[in-house]
């Protein structure tokens, strides 16, 4: 297993989904293989094997993951979004990941290489990965988890006007967190003796996450990169604030791209605090332009370097043999 193998490069081959007719013997074997999974998982697997319809795949994958998660953690998976993390949130270690893979391979009749596994960190990563395998699409770039140092290095804004503490970026969107400390300068006046996070600042935070997506997650065009200093806010529609946010609250931000075509990129965005909705923005629009990729990614002040990608993506999803 080589560290230099690029998952996207090695596995871009279509998979023969339905190689032979689904026989009663196959159904019995499938039932045995999935005997500890929910009935709906088995049903979805049967449908997939009979029709090759990839729409059944997420139910199979989630059902298999659920079967390997300790019972007291399964609730998390029930109402999980795609950002639920396999290791940190579900307690899945690298050996369990192998067990999941073997069962998924067996049930969906596909082959997964160890190299391809290493970058799968969230439930969404797994679903997207399997979907691409089945449809023979190029594998997406894995979710990147960006620590604050990296965010500070690539963003065109900086404290005290940076409203992201951490973020993750995938090819389908970005997620971030910001904790309202109470020390923010604008809270001194907003409001009098009653610090409440301004809704306009919360939109700014979503906008910043969208900027981060453009810089770190948007599909690149050959020889070109989006210039950090070319991105500006142009518009926002369908904004509703549902909840006051105060010092101590941790804002969970998410954006998903709707269209990205130079010079405009539109996103939908949402902020939650725990499970509560705080802000919805149906459409946030940014303007941007490309620069020669030699000058990108943008480096603020020419000082800090982005964290090398390998550090983020080389997660321990390979079996750690201690022998």
């Amino acid at each position: 297993m080589s560290d230099s193998v690029q998952p996207t490069a090695s596995s871009n081959k279509p998979f023969p989904v339905v190689s032979k007719p689904f026989a009663p013997d196959d159904e019995a074997a499938l039932r045995e293989a999935l005997k500890r999974c929910s009935p709906s998982t088995f049903e979805a697997a049967v449908q997939f094997r009979k029709t090759g319809n990839a729409d059944h795949m997420p139910a199979v994958v989630i059902g298999v993951i659920e079967r390997f998660v300790e019972p007291d953690l399964r609730a998390k998976l029930k109402d999980a979004d795609d950002d639920l993390r396999l290791i940190e949130d579900l307690g899945i270690d690298s050996l369990t990941m192998m067990e999941i893979v073997i069962l998924v391979e067996d049930v969906l009749q596909l082959t997964i290489n160890n190299d391809e596994l290493r970058s799968l960190r969230t439930v969404g990563d797994v679903k997207t990965f399997i979907d691409c395998k089945i449809r023979g699409l190029p594998l997406p770039r894995p979710t990147k988890f960006l620590p604050i140092e990296h965010i500070g290095a690539v963003m065109p804004v900086e404290p005290p006007f940076l409203f992201l503490n951490e973020a993750s970026v995938s090819s389908t969107g970005a997620n971030g967190k910001y904790r309202i400390t109470g020390q923010e300068f604008f809270l001194q006046g907003h409001f009098k003796d009653n610090p409440v996070m301004p809704a306009s600042i919360m939109l700014e935070a979503l906008g910043q996450l969208a900027v981060l997506f453009l810089l770190e997650g948007a599909p690149a065009e050959p020889g070109k990169a989006i210039g950090a200093n070319t991105i500006y806010f142009t518009g926002c529609e369908g904004v509703r604030a549902h909840r006051m946010c105060k010092p101590g609250d941790i804002l969970t931000l998410s954006i998903k791209p709707k269209r990205t075509k130079v010079p405009l990129a539109t996103f939908e965005g949402a902020i939650r605090v725990g499970q509560e909705k705080a802000v919805i923005a149906e459409e946030i629009t940014l303007t941007f332009s490309y620069v020669e990729s030699a000058v990108a990614p943008a480096v603020i002040n020419g000082a800090a370097q982005p964290v090398p990608d390998s550090e983020n993506s080389a997660r321990p999803l390979r079996v750690a043999i201690n022998a």
Binding site: F68, E99, E105
Partner: protein
């Protein structure tokens, strides 16, 4: 040198799954044998084994296994276990409770674990067969750690977060006696304060049947007659499995924690026959020297020994060679310790035997009895001249010697003494 004490015991054996039941059955000479369903076939001449009750570990998938209420084991812990790993895990929990150990007492750099098992032939076969038929990509990532020799220590050390010394011992039927002996050394050399000594065997078809290939198993169909060490009509051993854990602690730890030990381990000795890969030395040369070495190391004269828990497995050659060794060690000075083989009740636990029977000796010292050597109808004349007790004696042994022997002519003897 710090003195070393036994402070906790845990048992999953053919004669009981807790110390009280085991002690009761030892005292009453109730055996744990049954006709074993997988052996009730014409091509298998051996019919009886010492069965583990309350567990079902027939499946190659640990998630299918059932075990008694009161134990709770997570999937991520049980998935890499062999059947004997489950038995030993349960015994470990018993031993921890018996020794009144807290989490901090178990997981620290001065507490270690030595284990002995022969691995899991059932799981070795299953995983290897799958590997060759379906290829590595369809093979379980825990196939190796569940099946190879060492599976017992890998799993227990991880499950209970042991941070001190850990190691597995492989000297066949002397293995867990070696584990106990070297655990004693770890403490008496001041390296560790506490050691868990663990023995385990699957005791199922795949673990026991290979001994039929050696023609060393009893072919008796009557469970009450199959295992009868020292009897003239004995015809081989009866296999068994299980898991046993013995907790050893330094005298400082015993004093600090204020626990009452079962007994002290005074010393041990070993020697090898240098004779045959599988057959005992006819005169028990290695066994005799191991006992001599153990007594010398313990500073105990042969005449002080009240009870010998023999290795005797009920094989034709082995029992006689041990009897000769015992006569040589004790006969010269006229010492007549009570001698019995508790394998008449449990069957032969193979790698598990040494620590299981060490645990039995501890129970006997605390319980004030010497278990009889059951099922002897007519003593083998070759074993005459020894005080082989056929009934349980209601007397507490003060000084006890425990013999173990394994393939290759490995012999180990441990010397223990009741407290006070």
């Amino acid at each position: 040198m710090p003195r070393v004490f036994i402070t906790g015991l845990g048992f999953i054996t053919s004669i009981g799954n807790d110390a009280a039941t085991v002690a009761g059955n030892l005292r009453a000479l109730r055996h744990g044998f049954e006709l074993y369903p997988p052996f009730q076939k014409p091509e298998i001449a051996c019919k009886v084994i010492g069965t583990i009750k309350g567990f079902n570990t027939d499946s190659v998938d640990p998630e299918d296994w059932t075990y008694p209420e009161g134990y709770e084991i997570k999937r991520e812990t049980i998935r890499s276990m062999a059947p004997h790993g489950l038995y030993a895990h349960c015994a470990f929990l018993q031993a921890v409770a018996d020794a009144r150990l807290g989490e901090d007492d178990i997981s620290n750099t001065r507490t270690g674990l030595y284990a002995a098992s022969a691995g899991s032939p059932m799981l070795t076969y299953f995983h290897h067969d799958r590997l060759l038929k379906l290829g590595p990509a369809r093979s379980s990532p825990v196939g190796i750690v569940a099946s190879i020799v060492g599976t017992l220590n890998f799993n227990l050390v991880a499950a209970f977060k042991i941070q001190g010394a850990s190691c597995g011992f492989s000297s066949a039927c002397a293995s867990s006696a070696h584990a106990a002996a070297y655990a004693f050394d770890e403490i008496s050399l001041g390296r560790q304060r506490r050691m868990f000594v663990v023995g385990g065997e699957d005791g199922n078809r795949d673990a026991i049947l290979p001994f039929a290939g050696m023609r060393t198993l009893s072919l008796q169909t009557d469970p009450a007659l199959a295992s009868r060490p020292f009897d003239v009509a004995r015809d081989g051993f009866v296999g068994t499995g299980g898991g046993v854990v013995v907790v050893l602690e330094s005298e400082d730890e015993v004093a600090r924690r204020g626990v009452a030990p079962y007994c002290e381990i005074l010393g041990w000795g070993q020697a090898s026959d240098g004779y045959n890969v599988a057959i005992s030395h006819p005169d028990g040369a290695g066994s005799r020297l191991a006992m001599d070495n153990a007594l010398a190391s313990a500073g105990v004269a042969p005449g002080e020994v009240d009870y010998v828990n023999a290795h005797a497995t009920s094989t034709l050659i082995g029992d006689v060679s041990e009897a000769r060794a015992l006569r040589s060690v004790f006969g010269a000075g006229g010492a007549r310790p009570a001698i019995s083989s508790t394998k008449a009740l449990t069957g032969h636990g193979l790698s598990l035997a040494g620590v299981m029977e060490t645990g039995f000796c501890a129970l006997a010292m605390r319980g004030g009895f010497i278990p009889g050597s059951a099922h002897i109808t007519q003593l083998d004349p070759a074993c005459e001249g020894l005080n082989i007790v056929r009934e349980t004696l209601p007397a507490a042994p003060r000084t006890v010697l425990k013999n173990s022997s394994g393939f290759g002519g490995a012999n180990v003897a441990l010397v223990m003494r009741a407290p006070g």
